[in-house]
């Protein structure tokens, strides 16, 4: 499968450019999701004042749940986007 109409291997570089770009895109997406999760869960779980440098029990539990819900949200949105695409414009 090719995005740019040149799916054949590139012997000069010794690797399949499209394959590498595909994997890179996926890695980038995961990275950006992590950055986003970090921002949103920080807002929801860690208050803006600092009596000490410890992440307390409640905050830690909040992070765990926040990540759980973050991924569930991704799944729900993914399903909705698929429905939208399959249903046509």
């Amino acid at each position: 499968m090719s995005f740019f109409g040149m799916g054949a291997r590139v012997p000069a570089t010794g690797y399949d450019e499209n394959k590498i770009n595909g994997i890179k895109g996926e890695m980038l997406m995961i990275q950006q999701m992590k950055d986003k999760a970090s921002l949103v869960c920080l807002e929801k779980c860690v208050p803006n004042y600092y009596s000490d440098g410890d992440l307390n029990k409640g905050e830690s539990n909040c992070v765990d749940r926040c990540i759980g819900k973050f991924f569930q949200t991704i799944k729900v949105i993914g399903t909705e986007m698929q429905k939208q695409q399959q249903g046509g414009m």
Binding site: Y15, D16, I23, K34, Y50, E59, D64, G68, K75
Partner: protein, 86 residues
Amino acid sequence: MDPGNLSPQETKKLEEINIDLTMRSIAVTYMSMIGRCFDNCVNDMTSKSLTAKEEKCVKSCSEKFMKYQQRLEQRFNEESANLNGP
């Protein structure tokens, strides 16, 4: 991600990309920490250097942030491993 049947060149290329993305991610996290701790701790602009109180706050803030980030990444990696699997 499918790590199956990669040529040595492809593996090398992906390692380079991974290092690049990791560096960028560290920069994003670092900037986010600086932004948050400065914003939350430093408010007194009547002096040029940090007050003792501000400095203490920045220390606590960054320590907490790093612990937070560590836990977040741990959980994130667990969940993203499950995302494609069962």
